[in-house]
């Protein structure tokens, strides 16, 4: 064996790469595109830095929400190679669960009702966390049910049947929810479990009091943004820890590489898959609640576009990669916010997908994706 390492580990000879003809045309085309985008952004940044910063902040908010949803997509894809189209609708169910908990049952007020003595601030925090936890648990249960009922029986069938099933589940959740006795098909104003507090930045950070408009040119942001950012980063760190350091994380990675081998190593692959669905859905539920709080209006097709964009973000970052999903989501959020700011609101979906297509053309498996190899 020593001979192997001795003779085979040699640096490859340096080859003079023959340049393919006309390569500059394609590169030039993308260079012009990139330069054009950069010029538009930079010129706007110089002309109105505050406006740019405002768009950047709304992009951050979107991006961090997408990051929470994208995780579920990327983990499920990594482990069962299924584009789980129903994931966006699980996100929607998370928003609706919290709506019912808050508007119908007043769950967020339980600490104050049970212990009138605790400070109101702490009561709101505990109450809100309870609502979020409830949504996360409901979403996780829903996802596990979907997985067991709809996907598990099809695990050995062609991949496309599971995909069609996922589309079916997605339709079902959207339209079943739109029935009057379930959620109703209308937009519903969302009651927040806590008040939105906004600040503006101009000569330091100032609180915006209700009924007061921030001065011209000030950059505003709210506590929702801060909460979304913190929650999203915590979720990333938690998942990194879970996947790298814990036993279940190792089982997940093993199952995603090679399911039969993982089974032989004594891993219960079915329960690992269920766990993956559950954890992805829980974070989607968290994202759903925060999204609803931020945008304060919900309906049953709420999950389609954020779900799709989050999926695109996961693909952009390299599907199967957790940091990839995070980076992809932030890029997606910025792309959307900048399009809304500088081009036009309706074009945001078109721009998001155009970016995806262009990135895939340059890096066919996404930013952090492993290149696909085939053994001959």
């Amino acid at each position: 064996m020593q001979q192997l390492t001795g003779s085979q580990q040699v640096m490859p000879p340096v080859m003079k790469k023959k340049r393919p003809p006309l390569a500059w045309v394609g590169q030039g085309f993308f260079l012009i595109l990139a330069v054009g985008v950069a010029v538009i952004l930079i010129s706007n940044l110089i002309r109105q830095p505050n406006l740019f910063a405002q768009f950047f902040i709304s992009g951050l908010q979107l991006g961090f929400v997408y990051a929470m949803i994208a995780l579920g997509y990327t983990m499920v894809y990594g482990i069962v190679k299924l584009i789980n189209f129903a994931h966006g609708d699980v996100f929607m169910v998370g928003a609706f669960t919290s709506y019912f908990a808050v508007a119908r049952f007043g769950l967020h007020q339980w600490p104050l009702a049970a212990f009138p003595a605790i400070p109101p601030g702490l009561g709101v925090v505990i109450g809100s966390i309870t609502v979020i936890m409830l949504s996360m648990v409901i979403c996780a249960l829903l996802a596990v049910t979907i997985e067991r009922v709809a996907y598990k029986p099809l695990r050995d069938a062609p991949r496309i049947t599971a995909l069609i099933t996922a589309i079916g589940v997605s339709f079902f959740l959207e339209y079943f929810g739109a029935l009057n006795f379930v959620y109703s098909p209308r937009f519903i104003p969302y009651d927040r479990p806590f008040e939105v507090v906004a600040w503006y930045i101009k000569d330091g950070i100032h609180l915006i009091r209700p009924g007061e408009a921030p001065p011209d040119g000030a950059i505003t942001f709210s506590n929702i943004l801060v909460i979304i950012m913190i929650a999203s980063i915590l979720v990333q760190l938690f998942l990194q820890f879970l996947v790298r350091r814990t036993k279940i994380g190792i089982a997940m990675r093993a199952s995603s590489y090679d399911k039969p081998a993982a089974r032989l190593m004594g891993i219960n692959v079915d329960s690992v898959i269920s766990f993956t669905f559950a954890i992805g859905a829980a974070f989607a539920g968290l994202g759903g609640v925060l999204y609803a709080i931020a945008y304060s209006s919900i309906w049953t097709q709420l999950g389609i576009l954020p779900g799709l964009k989050a999926f695109v973000a996961a693909v952009l970052g390299g599907i199967g990669s957790i940091p990839g999903a995070f980076v992809g989501a932030l890029i997606m959020g910025q792309a959307e916010a900048m399009t809304m700011g500088y081009i036009s609101t309706p074009m945001r979906d078109a721009v998001a997908f155009s970016i995806l297509i262009i990135v895939l053309l340059i890096r066919p498996t996404g930013i952090f994706g492993e290149p696909e190899k085939e053994k001959v």
Partner: protein, 263 residues
């Protein structure tokens, strides 16, 4: 490694690195028209990688491959096949949901003799060319004794027959050089004997040059006139079967150090 007018394939200094791992290094090979050569070596020696580079599936890190005095490095695999190099695969790669006949007929696509509009309008050219290529495909199947299996779906055939379908399919590409990657793998002794006869037969009949990779020594020693031995990506010996059997480095490569003296 001099090039003479009768040289069909000339491989010089062929090198392939996967990352820092040298799978094939400074591999040289020259085949004359009508040769029936063998390429042998222990598992992982880089034999299939050589095949993949000759057929364009991998692009070599360095070195040159000339076929009929034209370099084929950098050509797409389908272009190389159209120049006249056909191959079979170590792990059979048939079009498994198609019939045996269609498997062979697919190989006729580059020289089917009619274009897409001919096919869509079903004109007389289509009819005659399609009939012609079907008959030729049936002839190839007949050589391999598969004539009555032509309407079977390929994946339902036993292993030995799948191998033969693959060789028939490669022949239908109208090659001048045929690369066989372990044609006898998974065959029983009787099938192996038949296969050896077949290889001789097609070699003579179609005026082919054949290079084959094989682990079954009786096949290689039985039919090859010239053998190249590889180990760790390099050529360690070449010669006639007799010489190879007595070569110490070859025995060492197969059986380990010291075995040569023991044997």
């Amino acid at each position: 490694m001099t090039t003479t007018p009768s040289t069909l394939l000339n491989v010089r200094d062929l090198t392939k690195f996967f990352g820092g791992l040298g799978a094939v290094r400074n591999f040289d090979l020259s085949l004359q028209k009508g040769d029936l050569s063998g390429l042998i070596g222990p598992n992982g020696a880089g034999k299939t990688t050589v095949f993949n580079m000759i057929t364009g599936i991998y692009v070599p890190t360095a070195g040159d491959i000339t076929f009929n005095d034209t370099s084929v490095v950098g050509l797409e695999p389908f272009e190389i096949t159209r120049l006249g190099i056909a191959r079979t695969f170590q792990n059979i790669r048939l079009f498994s949901n198609l019939t045996v006949l269609d498997n062979v007929r697919i190989a006729y696509h580059p020289h089917a003799g009619y274009s897409l509009p001919d096919g869509i309008f079903r004109n007389a050219k289509f009819d005659s060319k399609e009939r012609e290529l079907t008959e030729q495909a049936q002839d190839f199947l007949a050589i391999f004794g598969l004539e009555n299996l032509q309407n079977e779906v390929a994946k339902n055939l036993p292993y030995g027959q799948q191998r033969r379908v693959e060789i028939a399919r490669a022949l239908a590409c109208a090659p001048r050089l045929l690369l066989l990657d372990e044609p006898a793998a998974g065959m029983n002794p009787k099938e192996i004997l038949e296969l050896m006869d077949l290889i001789h037969f097609i070699h003579d009949r179609f005026d082919l040059t054949i290079l084959l990779i094989e682990h079954q020594m009786r096949v290689v020693m039985g039919i090859c006139r010239y053998i190249t031995v590889m180990d760790f990506g390099q050529v360690i010996a070449r010669g006639r079967p007799k010489e190879i059997q007595e070569n110490e480095r070859v025995i060492e490569a197969y059986l380990g150090k010291g075995a040569g003296h023991a044997a």
